[in-house]
Amino acid sequence: MATKKISKKEIAKLLGIWNQQLSVFVPSKEENVAKMVRWDGIDVSFLDWYRNTVIPCKANFLPSMERMFSFKKNEDGYHTEIPQDKQKQLIFGIRPCDARGIATMDKVFTETYEDFYYVSKRKNTLLIGLSCTNPYDSCFCTSLGLEPTEAADVDLMFTDIGDEFLIEEITDKGEELLVATSLVKQATKADDAKAKMLKATVSAMVRKKVDIKEIAKKLQACFSDKDYWEKVAAKCISCGVCTFLCPTCFCFDICDELVKKQGARYRGWDSCSFRLYTKMPMENPREEKWRRVRQRVCHKYEFYPMNFDVTACTGCGRCIRLCPVNWDISQILSSLPTSAISRSEK
């Protein structure tokens, strides 16, 4: 597909055209915390500072708190009502790691039973990717088969080539977005070459490397090594930061609220790091911290790939950057015991 381009000066206009039909989300800072917010129609200064958001774009599909349905008791019994959320969205500036995160989450939310809320938002959202220009020192997307500038998981891909953005049309829906405007021009071969060179440069900037070849096997071999996992888990404080900020973590809790005879059922983020996550009346299979830490690592790099053929990690590095105690998963993955340890007898 022939590439297109747009001058950086015209970005606000382009977003403005899209904003007429869709809710456009762009990166913004609230109390110095970068996140995707509804575009105010004017400000595109994020292009100057934006590296990545703190809250990943999964929040647009699986919000931290979501009303599933409300209920009310009438004379003839209970009536339920699902919130009508047909709003079409466009997220501008999603990074390849976050886009891959959503593609990864798609697997679990569409298999066997479609997750109504996730899927309806997903169907109504367009993703406009933005190639990285300045990866963090904690980024390791390239170790997971991603490139900070490639995005098979978005509808359009923007790459900064100086005064302009090169635009790649990835899906038909993405192509349609560019049809109605003269702001977008054909890119030249020189533009393509420039983009290619810049992409290679950025890719080389991702310096952290983690060898995840055979990681599932290594994890399986050391699964029962309590001493190892206790050491690994020692400084973890069992909060939920890594899981909540992870683009591929999706665990949720369902709860009800009731005031007089009406209320609603909600779902919200939950974390396998929390001690009571798996608690049953008589026992808790993950009472000890090392079991929870083991679960987290194994789920992402062993169990999820076993089920869906894709690693539940995109190397975005948020868990490393924002962990209160600097627990670093790349260090753990790089230092798994390589000798097979036989599973201990129960």
Binding site: M68, F69, F71, K73, G77, Y78, T80, I82, V108, F109, E111, T112, Y113, E114, D115, F116, Y117, Q220, F223, S224, F250, C251, F252, D253, I254, C255, D256, E257, L258, G263, R265, R267, D270, C272, Y277, T278, K279, M280, P281, M282, E283, P285, R286, R291, Q295, C298, H299, E302, F303, Y304, M306, N307, R343, K346
Partner: protein, 291 residues
């Protein structure tokens, strides 16, 4: 059997929104023990009342609007589907609220869930040994009635059921029926009897060893508290049962029931999506020891 190939899992009673419960109305309540009651209920929707079906071993998510949702196995048999039954042990917020419901109350029902149910085809033509403890009889009873309603498909039937005390015995009306059924060898036991108890005393695994059912052409189905199951398997092995001949249901904390909220996993398997029924052979091959 446990369907670990996710492509084989069935979509049952798919609704537009899988999280929106169907409404069911409570028709009858049986107080089994001071902390356990069985609810008989039916769908409000006519079509569902007629068309709903499930398999023994599957479970449902019942909810009381405003209180919450919890997982219960369907304790009635799919062969007797004029109504549905679930048995509820009072342990937390939702179950305590379930114990305060009256006939006519409306609750939410999501289901049937569970990617693997009791393998009736595997059990066909075999001698069956049902081993239950306490409220663990609930999923078993769905299976037992299912089997009895097609009695000629199966050979000998042994039922060994035990509870902590006579007051803790569940489904007494079923125990009576099975006692009177001459094609069933019904053994009831309690850990400790009271002054009126004239029956057997002893832990279920110990009683199983005494009764010593033959493992030849047999399938054993075990349901009960985890400790009972863990002590029963070695006894069955001693009696000559191969791991493929031993079947059980596993229990974990659940929320969504459909393999999405992430909670009930044992390694890469979700008890809701890939279970809850597993053979001992499968369990021994679990990559995780968290069961």
């Amino acid at each position: 059997m446990a369907i670990t190939d996710i492509n084989q899992r069935k979509k049952l009673i798919a609704k537009d929104n899988v999280y929106l419960p169907h409404l069911v109305v409570i028709e009858k309540i049986i107080e089994e023990t001071p902390s356990i009651r069985t609810l008989h209920f039916n769908f409000k929707d006519e079509k569902l009342r007629k068309g709903f079906t499930f398999e023994s071993g599957q479970f449902a998510e019942l909810s009381i609007f405003g209180i919450g949702e919890a997982t219960f196995c369907i304790s009635s048999s799919p062969t007797r589907n004029d109504h549905l039954e679930c048995t509820i042990n009072r342990v937390g917020v939702v179950t305590n609220a379930m114990h305060r419901l009256s006939i006519g109350a409306e609750i939410g029902f999501r289901g049937p869930y569970g990617g693997s149910s009791f393998p009736l085809e595997l059990m066909r033509g075999k001698n069956l040994v049902f081993i239950g403890g306490g409220i663990g009889l609930a999923p078993l009873r769905s299976l037992i009635w299912n089997v009895l309603d097609n009695r000629d498909r199966y050979e000998n039937i042994d039922i060994i059921y035990g509870a902590r005390s006579p007051a803790d015995l569940c489904f007494r009306y079923d125990l009576d029926s099975w006692n009177q059924d001459k094609t069933i060898n019904m053994i009831t036991t309690v850990d400790k009897g009271d002054k009126n108890w004239t029956g057997r005393e002893g832990f279920v695994p110990a009683v199983l060893e005494q009764i010593a059912p033959s493992a030849k052409k047999a399938i054993a189905v075990v349901c009960g508290p985890p400790i009972m199951i863990r002590l029963t398997f070695p006894v069955l092995e001693k009696l000559g049962f191969a791991p493929e001949q031993m079947i059980t249901t596993l229990e974990k904390r659940m929320k969504c029931g459909i393999g999405k909220c992430g909670r009930c996993n044992i390694g890469n398997l979700y008890v809701c999506r890939d279970g809850p029924v597993f053979t001992y052979a499968q369990i021994r091959n679990f990559i995780s020891d968290e069961y």
